[in-house]
Amino acid sequence: MADATAIPGPRGLPRWAGWGLVLLPCAALWLWGAPAAPWAFDWPKGWTIPAARWITAFTRWLLNDATFGLFTFQELTRFVAGVIDAPYRIVLSLLSTGFLRGEGSTAVEITPPLSWVAVIVSFALLGLWAGGRGLALLVAACFLFIAVFGQWQSAMVTLASILVAVPLGVAGGMALGVLAWRHLWFSRAIRPVLDLMQTIPVFAYLVPILFLFGFGPTAAVVATLIYAMPPMTRVTELALHRVPPELSDLGRMVGCTRRQMLWRVMVPSAREALMVGVNQVIMLSLNMVIIASMIGAGGLGFDVLAALRRLDFGAGLEAGFAIVALAVALDRLSQAVAVRGRGAPLRGGPLARHPYLVASLVTIAAAAAIGFVIPWVQSYPQAWQLSTGTFWSRVVEWINVNFFDTLEAVKNFFLLNLLVPFKRFLAGLPWLGVAALLAFAGWRSGGWRLGLLIAALVTLIAATGQWEKAMITVYLCGISVAIAMLIGLPIGVLAANSDRLWSWVRVIIDTLQTLPSFVYLMPAVMLFRVGDFTAMIAIVAFAVAPAIRYTVLGLKGVDPRLIEAGRAMGCSEAQILTRIRLKLALPEILLGLNQTIMFALSMLVITALVGTRDLGQEVYIALTKADPGRGLVAGLAVAFIAIVADRLIHAGAQAARGRLGLGGSST
């Protein structure tokens, strides 16, 4: 990466002089340029690149006419669908529907699905094997929670799609990662694709996927795979590169073939790091649960979505918490498997060597047999279910009845004094001036390449006719990020000082992050109804977690010797905080800001449900109209905004690191 400190300012002038030189013409253009150069404000219609139309036409062509000689594109998508569909059917039958003969209402059940008792016991046994009694209890409690709150059926549907998506995602991600590890050119080629896959909002590719695979669980799994695979690829490549060179030397010295080298030496040695990737795939797959339900995945995601549409806060919250319970169980299980210490290998026959597997199979068989006689063993009886849904709905109702005027006043205050003026200001900016300013900032912090990249991306947003919507996006995200940072920084500072507070805060932000983002929307909608303010609240709630987390990490990471030195020099606590700790934690805090922006952008499309007018809305409309071009172009515009913000902040963090002499590349 370019060394930021190496870029000199114009000779003989202070560094800010360059800024002045760029700012003045931009300000002049903004204030007086409108009559002289209207094209600098609104991209002329005639120049617009019809990218949306091209992409739509291209997808149509792919679907109808494209052929690779031996097979057509459509046959390829059908093949992929088949590969996903077959295991999905089996797992779904096992967990949820049972194996059926025949179709629809005439179907006859051959075998029932696994009983809830068997599923809980099996997962608890897995926990016992991987992490001991504590983990087994936690996992059992999570699943029991799901059963008690009546979410079992939906949860099993969700679990089925996760159980299919995760192995496919892990295998695919690993295959790509191994290729990238073996061939530098492949690694170089795939890196920008991975960047894009992670920054493009999921909704943008939901549309093309819907187009290619049709509505249904298969399309949902494909979308989940695209979303969850990139980190696995990155982790695999990194983990394989981090295997000590001595181990690969060993592999070659004992005469391993290429395959033996990979599977006997490299992969086992990188196992712990790879399991981190598996964990990521699981968590990201769970993140996708609700979004995937928009294109046909059933289960918990669908329940949340349906509850949101009914504005049934309580039901949505319960389904949302069921997703969290599933996430907690799977997260802890995969983490425990990663660090599992090994005892001496068990000896004896296959029965004695796999006691947990055997116990699980016995439980499944026994539960199935007993289930024929005693129905409550087979499926959790409705009479034992609890629901807090109505309670939560009542709470919201009560608040609305009693505090309506206060809430409304707060909302209007923010709207009139903050949101609307800022929106007007941004909407009035000329795209040319913004592009020039951002490009200059890029050049200053990361060299001419970064400057050019940013100029190109900003111009492209304007050129595809999305400038206005992009500015609304920036306005909504910008305000939300600012508020999230304003809340997150002080909390982070407090939490960094007290381990006890931090342990509490951590639990809360972990939950905030695993809770499906839709859940934030519901109370906000209940209290403030639809609109920008509601969207802002939801985004802030979702994006505050990284702001806190990175602040704490940064402050805790400050070398204690420097703090001691400050204290020895007689600094007050306040001085130590502002002069030493915050200054040294700046790179980390900047990365936190970066993450906050990414989180905010990823919430955009979801907030489109409450009637914002930004790029998210554009994607959402494209989804309902099944217009792949429109959705993808708007999605790419969001990705461009994300890339510009990401690169600028990264370069800034890098420069800050350089100045502080902390060295090392950013994470």
Binding site: L247, D249, L250, M253, S269, R271, G341, P345
Partner: protein, 351 residues
Amino acid sequence: MTESPAAVRGAVGASADKITLECRGVWKLFGARAGEVLRSLGSGATVEAIAAAGLVPAVRDVSLSVRQGEIFVIMGLSGSGKSTLVRLMSRLIEPTAGEILFNGQNLLAASDREMVEIRRHRMGMVFQHFALLPHLTVLGNVAFPLEVQGVARAAREERARQMIALVGLGGREDAYPRQLSGGQQQRVGIARSLAVEPELWFLDEPFSALDPLIRREMQDEFIRLQSVLRKTIVFITHDFDEAIRLADRIAIMKDGAIVQQGTPEELVMNPATDYVREFTQAVPKAKVVRADSVMVAAEGEAAGTVAARTVIADAARLFLGGAAVVAVTDAAGRVIGHLRRDDVTRLLMGG
């Protein structure tokens, strides 16, 4: 102390003329188009010229030969190119120029498949940081080279158990590497490298990562093993005392080139450069110099005999009774010269 290294050396001396591994003019430069640059520089390939071309000279024009059954130690400080050299010898790294002959066969001409066969059956290597596979037990690690070759489970595990017993780890077969101490881990590494019965045994700083006391213990263990196994050994170290203690012959490397090679005795008695002298200064000469190096022509009576390859520090014992002269005998027991009390005293005094 276990059996003295000198005794081991004396015993293998007879077969020491057959050359197992030979390097001829071996170069390794790191960087783009290293081969072209080296050819264009020709005889003017100095460190400066290579660096000016943007390359890193790791090994420069190394020629050496390792005789069958000897312990050949390559000694150098970090960055001297010794680890690169040992990887060139096993062709884990491709040399930029030069020839490497293994029992007369040019390794650089060998196909990948032939190299795999040679490494599988005829070479073994011990690594500085042990390079144990974390997911396998001690037994699994030691059996790993055999598993790779496709040896049946029963056969490879039996062989592995023998090797584990040989290095004194019997009973720990089911432990995982992380449960072992550093010294134990390296015993596993040694057992693993011996499992295929290699002709040529590379040890890349095998004891450098261990505490001094354990290191000493492992050196003794190594000497014991070699007295049983009689392998041809290339041993890499940065510790000159270790080199002196173990070596039949030593090559000292600096900046990728060999500064001097010879027996410990030759290095100590006649250091070729100031660089070598810095290492040898602190070595007590009496512990390195052998009887046949300081003996004079046999003349008159002698009290007792001493083997030609005995170091002076050990031979000194014979003079305790007041003898002035001791006879020096070769392997066949013939007297080949006399060792005088004055010479021994001078060496013992550090002269």
